[in-house]
């Protein structure tokens, strides 16, 4: 029972990390079709933001609470810059955005290396997050619980924004029919920018959260980007719900396989499972629902 529960929690925890990393992608890739490989570097920027902020505040708790919105802002502004300079001219070439943003990712990584040095740095966790909570006889680190909660808050907030605000309505309108939305007076340029701002900002938050789990290095983003994209692909496009389910499913799967084999084998098996899953349900992936063949 203990083992089962600790496995379950390990999976949920991994899932929440994946979800944080993938949520912004679900917006930029899922809703806008932009494959932003620099998303991981936006996470890294968020993590370094937390590192810088902790130098200003003596209290780790205050520092964390300041870092979260600031990380959002840093990630968001980076995203905005990227959208305004490069991506907006490439909406008709989605595959090429992948390569361009990869170039951006390389540059950002090297910038981090030159500014902060190649070795990893650490961010202190606040005292109220140290230690573990005892649930069903299993010690669960408070940081993990915090990240789980943070992931849930982010999902709910994003869902509310998409559902209730005028911005959300505009985003959905642009996603469904760009031309029609434009014709009905929606500024697609502005909507694109805002969508990208929010999506990249979520990466910044994810980066801040990751500082609670380990040290911060220039390649922090690269470690998560592939998994994050897999989550979005498996979850299906244009659906936050799908991303949430896929993140937790993959987290649980990874944790379970890891438990019975090794972490490296688990990665390969998860990949195989996803490919098989796509055999059964490619609908989440491709929707040939239009009459035009393009």
């Amino acid at each position: 029972m203990d083992v089962l529960f600790s496995q379950l929690f390990a999976g949920l925890s991994l899932g929440s990390v994946l979800l944080l990393a993938a949520l912004g992608l679900a917006l930029t890739f899922g809703q806008m079709g932009v494959i932003n490989m620099a998303h991981g570097e936006f996470m890294m920027a968020g993590a370094y933001t937390a590192f810088v902020v902790q130098g200003i505040f003596s209290s780790a708790g205050v520092s964390l609470l300041v870092s979260l919105p600031l990380g959002f802002l840093v990630g968001g502004v980076l995203g905005l810059l990227l959208e305004a300079t490069l991506i907006h001219r490439m909406y008709r070439r989605p595959l090429d955005t992948l390569l361009v943003t990869w170039g951006v990712a390389l540059v950002l990584q090297q910038l981090a290396r030159d500014i902060f040095g190649a070795p990893n740095v650490d961010v202190r966790a606040p005292a109220w997050l140290s230690g573990a909570v005892d649930v069903f006889g299993v010690g669960i680190p408070k940081t993990r619980l915090f990240i789980l909660a943070l992931a849930i808050v982010c999902v709910v907030a994003l869902a509310l924004v998409l559902k209730l605000t005028p911005l959300g309505r505009r985003i959905r309108a642009v996603v469904q029919n760009r031309d029609l939305a434009e014709a009905s007076g929606i500024s697609t340029r502005r909507t694109d920018r805002l969508t990208f701002f929010i999506g990249s900002g979520l990466a910044g938050i994810a980066g801040v959260a990751l500082t609670l789990l380990g040290s911060v290095g220039p390649t922090l983003g690269t470690n998560y980007i592939v998994d994050a994209f897999l989550v979005v692909v498996a979850g299906g496009i244009g659906q936050i719900k799908g991303t949430v389910i896929a993140a937790f499913a993959l987290g649980l799967l990874q944790a379970t396989i890891e438990f019975s084999t090794t972490a490296s084998l688990a990665k390969v098996l998860v990949f195989v499972v996803i490919v098989i899953f796509l055999q059964v349900r490619p609908q989440g992936l491709v929707s040939v629902r239009t009459r035009s063949l393009a």
Partner: protein, 333 residues
């Protein structure tokens, strides 16, 4: 291929609807493009008088069509399309509600109906693009549930509302690909030498012989549609489904296309989705009127026209419901 001199000459001196807006294709056709407008009724005089005013440019060459189509009518004798209880549903929205449709060889059947009547959806279901339930048989073979390319290999070909040709390939390459689904691996891996006879004939038929090496993407709209028809011809489809083949064509081009379709229809099984009433009246052998995913009326043009239900749909109060359904179907995409 033997008696081709006459039409050929006309062809060489008579282009000029050709690529009006597009960049000039290549040095070679250039002098022809700037060439004088020929007095044109020389085109296809043997096929009976072409009505109306002049056909501009090189139009279709119906003699060549005869060559592509061949004279072995017996191949098609047992062909017929039999649709029974076809039903197509998109996430709860019923686009086609259990229709029956029988089209025999030698019939040129037109499908008409207001927007959202399910015309294109029926064509999509027959060709495997959308899933449907019920039964669609052609020549005794069940088509529903088969893959798109298997259906195509069974002799079913179609064109699309928005002409879809391979824009970066030349006209010739487009046709050659259409002609080649039966080629073996060895022939695929070799370079194309010369032009297959059927492709040559199709080039003549659709009047694009002099533009064969031009990228299909820079063809004029009507020429793309002809290219699609040409691809159907070389594909040697026995059932041809054409989705608004004359949309955006000039009057003269429509007449030519109609005649070509009549020729094909006399031999094979042809279904045309069309909005244009005049085109319909001139060329349809029989007409099926669809409304809200069901068959409203069927018969000759005159019979259908006289049907009060058809009159009501086209003139009466159906507009409002139609709009509502259209909205739903949009959202489903």
């Amino acid at each position: 291929m033997t008696d081709r001199t006459g039409p050929d000459v006309t062809q060489d001196t008579a282009p000029q609807t050709a690529v009006p807006t597009a960049p000039k294709p290549e040095p070679k056709p250039a002098p022809e493009l700037s060439g004088d407008l020929p007095p044109d009724p020389t085109l296809a005089p043997e096929t009976g008088p072409v009505p109306e005013t002049g056909i501009e440019g090189d139009g279709l060459d119906l003699d060549a069509a005869a060559a592509v189509l061949g004279d072995d009518e017996s191949r098609f004798r047992h062909d017929y399309l039999e649709v029974r209880g076809l039903r197509v549903e998109f996430d709860g929205f019923v686009a086609v509600q259990g229709i029956d449709l029988t089209v025999v060889q030698g019939d040129l059947r037109f499908l008409i109906g207001p927007n959202g009547a399910g015309k294109t959806t029926i064509v999509d279901a027959i060709t495997g693009l959308t899933k449907g339930t019920g039964s669609v048989k052609f020549g005794g073979t069940e088509l529903l549930g088969k893959k798109v390319h298997t259906i195509a290999r069974a002799g079913v070909g179609r064109t699309f509302q928005t002409a879809s040709v391979f824009e970066e390939l030349s006209v010739l390459q487009n046709l050659d690909i259409a002609a080649g689904s039966g080629r073996g691996p060895l022939s695929m891996l070799r370079r194309r030498r010369g032009v297959p006879e059927v492709v040559e004939q199709a080039l003549e038929t659709i009047g694009l012989a002099h533009l064969r090496d031009v990228q299909a993407g820079i063809l004029a709209h009507g020429q793309k549609q002809w290219l699609e028809i040409g691809m159907l011809l070389v594909q040697d489809s026995r059932l041809l489904l054409l989705d608004e083949p004359v949309a955006g064509m000039s009057h003269a081009e429509r007449e030519q296309t109609g005649e070509l379709l009549q020729r094909i229809g006399a031999q094979r099984t042809v279904v045309v989705v069309e909005h244009d009433m005049e085109f319909l009246r001139s060329f349809a052998t029989s007409v099926t009127v669809l409304h809200l995913g069901a068959v409203l009326s069927e018969g000759t043009y005159a019979e259908v026209q006289a049907d009060p239900r058809v009159q009501e749909v086209y003139l009466g109060s159906a507009g409002a419901t139609r709009g509502a359904r259209r909205g739903t179907s949009r959202k489903e995409k």
